[in-house]
């Protein structure tokens, strides 16, 4: 089943075209890498898919729901982690989970279970009383990811989730992403770490608002005759 279907998506800001006729599809359980230089239009596109921004024209279908008519249904089915750290620094781990769980209407019991599960999973037993601000950055990012999937959404949009994180944590972060994909979630990831692109099932590369390449990392490398996605990217960006 296709989880994300985008056809001829256009977004204009005045005369500037941020997204120029984007078309792509993402399958259930897929990790879809959305690459591009800064200002290529990645964040604009991801905001449209999440319903934070309205498209100028084009069709968008998320989890089987139309973005123009069924926004409320879409909201229930997606999780979103922005480039900015999205937990409240002045609340504790449990309070953050309770708050975000609360806005998705989770029951007290579920919230309690999830809190215990997350604390155990991240090994945060000693941090249960402390505010989120005191956590190390890598742990914060992982926690933010877990909070984004708290309500068990079908699709998770991750906008540069590993920005500023050390390589080991990034590795662990990607393991978490794989786990969720194996569990049947669809993950839509933007990043500008090209090594991360290799972890994705398929990647699209955006240049100046257009999708210039879209395939599995293997096929892209073959097609462009290079040994890494990074080199594919550089070739496209210079063209």
């Amino acid at each position: 089943m296709k989880q994300v279907v985008v056809k001829d998506l256009v977004k204009r800001f005045g005369r500037f075209v941020a997204n120029d006729h984007l078309s792509f599809e993402v399958e259930k359980g897929e990790i879809f890498g959305f690459l591009g230089a800064n200002g290529a239009g990645k964040t604009t596109a991801i905001k449209i898919l999440c319903g934070l921004s309205a498209p100028t024209s084009g069709e968008v279908n998320i989890a089987g729901f139309d973005i123009y008519k069924q926004r409320e249904k879409i909201k229930q089915n997606i999780g979103y982690m922005s480039q900015k750290f999205s937990l409240y620094n002045d609340l504790s781990i449990a309070e953050n989970i309770r708050f975000y769980g609360g806005i998705y209407g989770l029951s007290k019991k579920t919230i309690q279970e999830k809190t215990e599960e997350y604390i155990a999973r991240l090994g945060l037993q000693e941090f249960t009383k402390s505010m989120v601000v005191e956590l190390p950055l890598g742990v914060k990012q992982k926690l933010a990811f877990l909070v984004a999937i708290l309500h068990n959404p079908a699709i998770v949009f991750l906008d540069e989730p590993t920005g500023g994180v050390d390589p080991i944590t990034r590795r662990q972060f990607w393991e978490m992403i794989y786990q969720e994909a194996d569990a049947g979630k669809t993950l839509f990831v933007t990043t500008h770490y090209m090594d991360e692109a290799e972890y994705c099932h398929r990647v699209s590369i955006m240049v100046d608002g257009k999708i210039e390449a879209l395939d599995t990392p293997e096929n892209l490398k073959k097609q462009f005759g290079v040994e890494s996605v990074e080199k594919v990217f550089v070739k496209l960006a210079r063209a």
Binding site: Y80, S82, S86, Y88, F99, G105
Partner: protein, 365 residues
């Protein structure tokens, strides 16, 4: 929504700065204003117009002058001189004895003494008057120990130049207005823009929560806390500074609540047009706080302003609120007198709420 309110309260209580703005500043302001206006009386120059010149009038004058509070500036010979003396600015009070002061006191057991004060500085006029009255009462006790019929001296006061003593305790309505404006609009606008800046607002907007729920959830804690703050100001003024309170408490509290909602809707409006906390803060400062202080009639009387500023002051919500609570607290007026002003406040509230809802961007473009 409940979850929002809990979260917001947690965040406010954990933020020392918010707590200081919410409760520290109001208390300090009331105490500062209160004590600053409580000027001590010493060596106040007075004039005496004694048309009776009998034993009693002279004795009372002597008693008043022998206190450390009053100095005799001049003895007047006719009531025409009173005005001149005041205009020279040397004296703050004139004592006037009628022609038959002593006679009245002995024969009828009661006599009048007129106390005229310069109320252009109303606060000190009030204090001068009460000191004088206290001395007169003292004197009465003394003579009543000896005189057979119990004598009475009735002071008749006249406040010149400002009959209603307009600015005594004017600081209370003023401080309440400023604080509510500060707390309600600045704090809400900052707390909403903070979520925008941190990126949590995006997460909330992606979730199934409706934008109006986000706003209400943000605003309710501040409604409650601002209200508590206003009540603290009133209690302090009443119990520490003995502010006279003659109006309806219920009316006062409901109008206060109305003004809080108005200020909050202004805060929400500011947050919709500013991207960062700093911008929100500056906007609240310059667009709300300064006009509140300068144009609401709290410090500078609106009547004395240039016509253009008077017109601008009509657009200032605090101006109407100051009028309303002045009427309730100081004059004891009820709904019948101030319904027009209340209606204006309601109109402004509705206007800003509608404007904010329209402006609040569901989609963060």
């Amino acid at each position: 929504m409940r979850i929002f309110i809990i979260k917001e309260f947690l965040q406010i209580f954990r933020d020392t700065r918010s707590m200081i703005i919410l409760f520290g500043i109001p208390i300090v302001q009331v105490l500062l204003f209160g004590f600053a206006l409580k000027t001590d009386m010493k060596d106040v120059n007075i004039a005496v117009l004694d048309q009776s010149k009998d034993v009693y009038s002279q004795e009372l004058t002597r008693k008043i002058l022998s206190s450390e509070y009053f100095n005799l500036s001049s003895n007047l010979s006719s009531s025409k001189e009173i005005e001149d003396e005041f205009k020279k600015g040397k004296i703050r009070e004139v004592l006037v004895y009628g022609e038959h002061f002593g006679e009245d006191l002995i024969k009828n057991g009661r006599a009048d003494v007129q106390i005229i004060t310069d109320a252009s500085d109303p606060n000190s006029a009030n204090i001068v008057y009460s000191y004088t009255q206290a001395i007169i009462n003292d004197y009465l006790k003394e003579i009543n120990n000896t005189a057979q019929p119990i004598a009475q001296i009735k002071p008749i006061t006249q406040m010149r130049y400002n009959k209603e003593l307009k600015s005594v305790f004017m600081f209370v309505p003023g401080v309440i207005t400023v604080i509510l404006m500060l707390v309600s609009s600045m704090m809400t606008s900052i707390s909403i823009t903070r979520e925008k800046e941190l990126g949590t607002m995006e997460i909330l907007l992606v979730s199934p929560v409706k934008p109006w729920q986000i706003i209400i959830g943000k605003v309710i804690p501040y409604v409650l806390l601002s209200f508590v703050s206003a009540v603290i100001i009133l209690l302090l003024s009443y119990f520490v500074f003995h502010m006279p309170f003659s109006g309806s408490l219920l009316l006062l509290l409901s109008v206060t609540l109305l003004f809080i909602v108005l200020a909050l809707s202004l805060g929400v409006f500011i947050s919709t047009v500013s991207k960062t906390q700093q911008v929100a803060m500056l906007m609240s400062m310059f667009a709300l706080l300064l006009p509140t202080i300068l144009l609401s009639g709290f410090i500078f009387p609106i009547k004395n302003m240039p016509v253009i500023l008077q017109w601008i002051s009509h657009l200032m919500p605090p101006k109407w609120f100051v009028i309303i609570i002045k009427n309730i607290i100081i004059k004891g007026n009820g709904f019948a007198v101030i319904w027009k002003e209340i209606l204006i406040l309601i109109g402004m509230t509705v206007f800003f709420i509608v404007l904010s809802i329209k402006k609040f961007k569901i989609r963060l473009e």
